[in-house]
């Protein structure tokens, strides 16, 4: 098995007095896609933010390539090779779409390669080419999401942290995005940590999965195994056993709590 490139050990992160994650450890192996599943407010975003230095953990260690990176400035972390597609389309609203993409490649200096990558991104999302000179703030929600993903690609990172990349995208684009993700992973060996509400597609794309509940990891396994588990099938994939009533109004308790 390949080496662990990103190692999270026992981190605790607070929002003021609120403890959002409570001692979490996880590993992302080089060349693999790991995914974190969890309900709303479980703390998935917080994990990613802690890794990329947006938030400081109170305790614990984040190790990247054998080096501790917690509590550093996010730009420094990024320059080590971790690129983060944040939740909620953080574009630069008054810069043109093109300038947004260029900012994605801020840490790179090879002009030709950057130009090539822009073309590549345009081929993935032709609409970004059409809108190249429009301020990004005027794009539609889905277009901003495409921009946000493309921008992270422009950095050519070693590890990509993806926070709900499919948010607000059309079914066709969701499929395309995950094809691209998989392709980048396979062809360029890019490592990814993926957080996604669409558990079905996430589990089918990823190699290894963690299940998060109110700030704690309650289950971890390869995605093949996870896909077999009944709780996962029921609560994350929405596949119900036949025989039970088709639509239920009550919330069934999860077995692992």
């Amino acid at each position: 098995m390949s080496d662990t490139i990103l190692k999270v050990r026992n981190i605790e992160t607070y929002y003021g007095p609120i403890m959002a994650i409570r001692g979490i450890s996880l590993d992302v192996r080089d060349g693999q896609i790991a995914t974190v599943l969890g309900a709303n407010g479980a703390g998935k975003t917080t994990i990613l933010k802690t890794i990329s230095g947006i938030m400081d953990p109170q305790k614990g260690v984040v190790e990247f390539d054998g080096r501790e990176i917690q509590k550093r400035d996010p730009d420094w972390v990024m320059r080590q090779g971790i690129s983060h597609v944040p939740e909620g389309r953080e574009v630069f609203p008054f810069l043109s779409v093109n300038d947004n993409l260029l900012m994605g490649a801020y840490t790179r200096s090879d002009r030709d390669a950057i130009a090539k990558d822009i073309e590549l991104v345009h081929s993935y999302f032709p609409i970004l080419k059409e809108r190249a000179d429009q301020p990004a703030g005027q794009l539609s929600g889905g277009e901003q999401q495409m921009l946000s993903i493309s921008r992270a690609l422009m950095a050519r990172p070693k590890v990509m942290l993806l926070d709900e990349p499919s948010l607000g995208l059309s079914p066709r684009l969701v499929k395309e995005i995950f094809t691209i993700i998989k392709r980048l992973n396979v062809e360029q060996g890019m490592t990814m940590l993926l957080v996604e509400q669409n558990a079905n597609i996430a589990l089918h794309t990823a190699d290894f999965g963690y299940v998060l509940e109110v700030g704690r990891i309650v289950m971890e396994d390869t995605t093949e195994n996870l896909l077999q588990k009944e709780d996962i099938r029921e609560f994350y994939l929405g596949i119900q056993d036949h025989g039970v009533r088709g639509k239920r109004r009550w919330k069934k308790r999860k077995t692992w709590r």
């Binding site: 007095p17 403890m19 109170q58 008054f94």
Partner: protein, 369 residues
Amino acid sequence: MRFLFKTDYDQDIRIAKHSGYYWSYGLLLLVVIAAPFFLESYYIGQMTQLYIIAIAGVGLMLLAGYTGLVSLGHAAFFGIGAYTEAVMTGNGIPLPFMDEPMVFSFLVSMPMAAIFAALAGVVIGIPVLRLTGIYLAIATFAFAIVIEEVLSRWESVTNGYTGLLVESLYVGDLELSDGPPFYFLCLGLLILVILMSINLLRSPTGRAMMAIRDSEISAQSMGVNLARVKTTAFALSAGVTGLAGALFAHKLGFLSPESFTVFQSLELLVLVVVGGIGSLHGAIFGAMFVLALPQGLAILKDYLPTSIAETPGMEPFIFGLILVLVIIFEPYGIYGRWLKIKHYFQMFPVYKRATFKRQKAYMKSERLK
């Protein structure tokens, strides 16, 4: 630790959330009522000044803190209130059916001061409805400059730069505009203004103001008439500030346009932010800051060697330094810190260290609102 059990809706609507409020604010009230019987006249004067500034602070807080509209021109409303008061109780106003200009009782002139200032608020409020942020701040600033010019040019009424003497107020033989009587007048008005603000803030208009501050578009979609609420906010804010101006006129005793410049506007803004933007407590804390700090420094100077104490510019230097330190220490103002300390004691056995620890923060363009 205190647990609150809610049994009816009224509980949320009431001013005092629980019995602790009655105790703490009752005690505070008792102290401020008793104060003039114990204090030296100098300190009575200072407290009076504090109340006046706090009223103006509440006025600006309604606009900047709750509606999110920043004004760099509140000194103008302050000035309009002050001059209205001085003219109406002093030289009086010539009325068509009277031979002599009519001199008014303060019972008339003070409300009029507030009303004139409120009207001025509407006059500036309406044209600048579409402005936000720095543009609004500068528009109000420009307006204030125009008002300052009017105050200095309209010599027949304001006496221009020569200045206008403010008459003292009497009720019978009792001088109302000085000493303890004035103290109680200002205190009473401050309490009145605070109560009205609290009322407003727990009613639909107040909520609409806060809605506008956070998101104009969705406020609008919920049926908030932006133009109307903003104009109301301007008028109220200006009116309250004008009332403070009327009191200030008596406190100062002599008005000239130089008392109402952009620096006074800036000082009010400092008050609001340092106190803690978006809370009425903040207005009071802020008033203490802008008033008590220079006073404290002045008193401190008595104990320093003359050569240091009288170094030119020492006072503003320390003022600036403390302003900077306060904000660096607590960007959410004194009230923000107060809340944390209160929280600490309320949660006492189970508080968490992290409460006081500041997470990294990231600014986002406020041009989009």
